[in-house]
Symmetry: D2
Subunit: 118 residues, 4 copies
């Protein structure tokens, strides 16, 4: 994914509309979480089975694609505004998670390591 190109397009989009003033990190975080909320609404009454890709109607699938795009675009915009390299922090986080959830302790158990004894 060419994140730089997408960041650039989003910056251009905002500049043309004089929307940069709205795009503070705080506001972008709200917008990102708001779009995640729309994604929740698409899945909230579905069973796990019905949420599988081969079970989604084409209309629902189109909506899911649009919401995933919204989340992704706000994420890219936010990272750009904060000068955070998404790819770098993702790889770092995977390393952190590998330490946090050692294979032998985590098999079949998605509960966080620090809640494992509860």
């Amino acid at each position: 994914m060419n994140v730089e190109l997408l960041s650039h397009k989003l910056q251009e989009f905002a500049t043309q509309r004089n929307w940069d003033k709205y795009h503070t990190p705080k506001n972008l975080v709200m917008a990102l979480a708001g779009e995640a909320g729309e994604l929740l609404e698409l899945f909230q009454w579905l069973t796990d089975e019905e949420s599988q890709p081969n079970q989604l109607s084409s209309i629902t699938r189109a909506k899911v694609e649009a919401e995933l795009a919204d989340v992704c675009l706000y994420l890219i915009r936010l990272a750009d505004k904060l000068s955070i390299n998404l790819e770098d922090v993702c790889h770092q986080k995977i390393l952190v998670n590998e330490e946090k959830y050692p294979i032998h302790l985590s098999r079949n158990n998605a509960i966080k390591y620090n809640r494992r004894d509860e």
Copy 2:
């Protein structure tokens, strides 16, 4: 960003821990929104000013990076499970937004076109 590599790493991570059973699209949507919630918590009491990158303490910045990574990783995992190409849907969505918010009608006004008359 090499989304394919990250998708592959996430799939491997889940397989090694036998976590695939947890990673239904529905559950991943919840996890994504939960991480967006953690991002909200980092910014909720900050002013717009304080949310700017040069104002964040190094500790807060590290937390923001970790939460952005979590959102990004769940987004990539979800897209993978739904066979959605994130880059494609992002570019499509930008085109949709360009129609939805024509420059001459949207300058200085981030309100959605269909709410503009309210």
Copy 3:
């Protein structure tokens, strides 16, 4: 539920700590959504079955109670700051929903009336 008493206690709590400046409607909305995110995290890997009250461990139940309280307290605080009577708007919304989802059209189908034809 004595909402007035709770509102009063929350106001007092904020005043004593000089936190009123943080409690703008915008910030309280973020805090409310952040707490809803924590609730998501408690339920995200549970099956529908496991999310039933008789299946929750006592530790998870205590966490769920604490998160429900957090959501409720921010909701009350926000309504207080906006001078909105929660009970009134709830009763109004039920009336709206009764029109929106007529019984004969909505049986077994939780999809919104305006998406019913899709």
Copy 4:
């Protein structure tokens, strides 16, 4: 607020439409968080100033009332399904918060006690 009456009305509403099967705690948590997301969208581009009640347009105010009602109704429904007494857990949580944020340590500082040293 007569929470029992509202719980009863919501149960009746669900029973008449045969929607009880959708109302698992897990799904209700998603619905609650989805409504919180809609609230975010109403406030995301407003300044703190503009989010004050005397600044909201009557149309925005009506939308905010409707979203607050949605959050409140799902909260009441969820608490009912989990047999949690909202009023009780709210009062308990205030006591917890009073210990967690002692007045002399928390004045002018909304950061959580356990992050105060950062």
